[in-house]
């Protein structure tokens, strides 16, 4: 089963997992890493590394999702990239997290990252676009 690490500025990751659990119930093989302003890069790296090994016990691979491309969580996460084993997705949103848990046992990591990237983008909607549809 593919593991998930949510690495974010502050407690966003923790709360994303909590929100997901509110909707789909308890989730498996997931860890949140909170990056705070007093963390040095070594600590951040170590925390992410630890989270990866915690959610990858069966060796099926890990997806790291981060809040923002160009931010520290993403920058550090990207250094773990290992095609087929560890992939990184930036700009995480709740739909991505939910879709991950509905796919973590059925899709390979190499495909999953791409599916979730498209899915996360498609899940953004503007209300007024629906006004004149019939």
């Amino acid at each position: 089963m593919i593991g998930l690490v949510v690495a974010t500025h502050g407690k966003l990751g923790q709360e994303l997992l909590a929100s997901a659990e509110m909707i789909i119930g308890p989730v498996r093989n997931a860890a949140a890493v909170s990056i705070d302003h007093d963390n040095d890069l070594e600590t951040i790296r170590a925390n992410i590394e630890q989270a990866i090994s915690r959610v990858n016990q069966d060796g099926q691979g890990v997806l790291i999702v981060t809040d923002m491309f160009g931010g520290t969580p993403a920058n550090v996460s990207m250094t773990f990239l290992e095609p087929g084993q560890i992939d990184v997705l930036t700009g995480v949103n709740l739909p991505i997290v939910l879709k991950f848990f509905n796919s973590q046992e059925s899709v390979k990591l190499s495909e999953l990252a791409g599916i979730l990237k498209a899915y996360g983008q498609q899940s953004i909607a503007q209300a007024s676009d629906y006004l004149h549809r019939k």
Binding site: I23, I24, G25, L98, N102, A125, A127, Y130, R133, K134
Partner: protein
């Protein structure tokens, strides 16, 4: 057509239904039986957009829902049937839609209702409606998401309002 889940959920189509129940019961069709939503085009459009294209969505008034549920179009479908309240669930049953089990998902609190759990609030009318449904041989259970333990609604009533 088989009804794989009949559920009362005041939120109708929302996260718990799409992300948890649809994959859990392997539904490939959602039928929303609700007079109100059937008449509001904006709400319909938003609901239609929220449901993935692999899932057929039908939104209709109670009477339309009865017709659609017995149509050839849905013959091979695994249907997740949604009501927003107990009255609609009872009425559909009386109009001839047969479901054996009724899931109480979200029945949120409003004035005059007593809270029995964090997601279920009922008034005497609800209890009366549910009792009538049960009398027709339907087993009524409370289970908000699939990971929750399924409990018969009697357990809830016995425990009493909070």
């Amino acid at each position: 057509m088989s009804i794989v889940l009949a559920r009362i959920d005041s939120r109708l189509v929302h996260g718990q239904v799409l992300e948890a129940w649809v994959p859990h019961v392997k539904a490939d069709c959602i039928v929303v039986a609700n007079d109100e939503v059937a008449g509001v085009s904006f709400q319909r459009a938003v609901m239609e957009a929220a449901v993935p294209s692999s899932i057929k969505l039908v939104i209709g008034t109670l009477e339309e829902a009865v017709r659609i549920l017995s149509s050839a179009e849905l013959l091979k479908k695994r249907v997740l049937l949604l009501f927003s309240n107990s009255e609609d669930a009872l009425e559909l049953r009386q109009l001839g839609v047969i479901y054996d089990k009724l899931n109480l998902g979200n029945m949120h609190s409003s004035s005059g209702k007593d809270r029995y759990s964090c997601t279920i609030a009922l008034d005497t009318e609800d209890i009366h409606n549910l009792q009538k449904i049960e009398d027709q041989g339907v087993s009524i259970v409370c289970q908000c998401v699939p990971a929750d333990r399924e409990r018969t609604w009697h357990k809830l009533i016995q425990t009493g309002a909070r």
